[in-house]
């Protein structure tokens, strides 16, 4: 259960963020300069790799109880944020993430920006747009992969899950040469939110000194219970017919 859950949570979290980063890179490359956009992607991945390489060994040096308390708390906060967003979208109180719309907005902004050469980069705008997209979308995923991996004592499996997700999404982006608008981002976000909240609850409470009835088997209860609770909230918060909603379309 734990290894499978680790793989699924990291893979889905990474895939969701990779879809969003792909949209930004596609806009930068299509509207302006592919070479600069891809250089930005490479630079962003190098920055993420340096962060992971630096943070990974540091995390493994922290005593397990403290690691579980701090990491559990952070995962719980992240998980509740992901769940909150997914439930607001599922219940119609927030606009669904529209990759086509985001692509059109980024494309329009990219087409009007001025071209500026900086060093070996022929188009600085494309470079920085892709670089920021990869680093900002990737940072949370890098943290999730590292913390899940270090708590489960299986950072290689977390890394394999993260890299697999990036490869699958990038291959999809290259194949369709368009934003991956059909990916069920909100459902994936919901599953990741449930996983992060469950593991955050389990590790956080354990790090704070609590003992779970059934030990690791408690996770088998937490995951479906939180999933049912989230689905129940999504259904309960759906407005009755005739109610007009005013929602924001933020990320």
């Amino acid at each position: 259960m734990s290894s499978a859950a680790l793989f699924i949570a990291v893979f889905l979290a990474c895939a969701v963020e990779a879809v969003e980063a792909t949209t930004i890179v596609l806009a930068a490359g299509t509207a302006r300069d592919w070479r600069s956009a891809l250089t930005g992607v490479a630079a962003g991945l190098v920055v993420l790799a340096v962060i992971v390489a630096g943070l990974g060994p540091a995390l493994t040096a922290i005593p397990l109880q403290w690691l579980r308390l701090v990491v559990g708390g952070l995962l719980l906060v992240f998980g509740l944020q992901w769940l909150r967003k997914a439930i607001l979208r599922a219940s119609g109180h927030k606009a669904l993430h529209d990759e086509d719309k985001i692509f059109a907005t980024e494309l329009s902004a990219a087409q009007t920006a001025q071209t500026r050469r900086v060093g070996a980069v022929s188009d600085w705008y494309s470079f920085t747009l892709s670089f920021k997209g990869v680093v900002l979308e990737g940072l949370e995923v890098a943290f999730i992969a590292l913390t899940f991996g270090s708590n489960q004592k299986d950072i290689p499996l977390a890394a394999i899950a993260a890299v697999s997700a990036v490869v699958v999404v990038a291959a999809g982006g290259v194949a369709v040469r368009a934003p991956l608008a059909r990916v069920p981002e909100n459902s994936m976000k919901f599953v990741v939110g449930v996983m992060l909240t469950s593991f955050g609850t389990f590790w956080g409470a354990e790090g704070a000194g609590a003992h779970w009835p059934g030990s690791d088997a408690a996770l088998l209860v937490l995951v479906p219970l939180y999933a049912l609770f989230g689905i129940g909230l999504s259904v309960a918060l759906r407005p009755r017919s005739g109610t007009k909603l005013a929602y924001s379309a933020e990320a």
Partner: protein, 68 residues
């Protein structure tokens, strides 16, 4: 210039760690602190964090819907 960069740095980390609703972050920290406090006693403490989730998530959703 320096202040605006420091503010941008602070805003990035605040958004990254705390996110849309600071009450959730405070609630999680409080739940873990109380769990820590009572875990030394003979009273079981494992249920506190799930109970906090069950209270915090609907509360945060309710606030988000009310203010939208």
């Amino acid at each position: 210039m320096v202040i605006s960069r420091l503010k941008a740095f602070y805003d990035f980390w605040y958004d990254f760690i705390v996110g849309d609703d600071w009450r959730v972050a405070i609630g999680v920290v409080a739940a873990l602190a109380i769990t820590w406090g009572i875990s030394g006693s003979s009273f079981p403490a494992w249920w506190l964090v799930p109970a906090a989730v069950v209270l915090l998530l609907p509360y945060s959703l309710w606030r988000a819907i009310r203010t939208s």
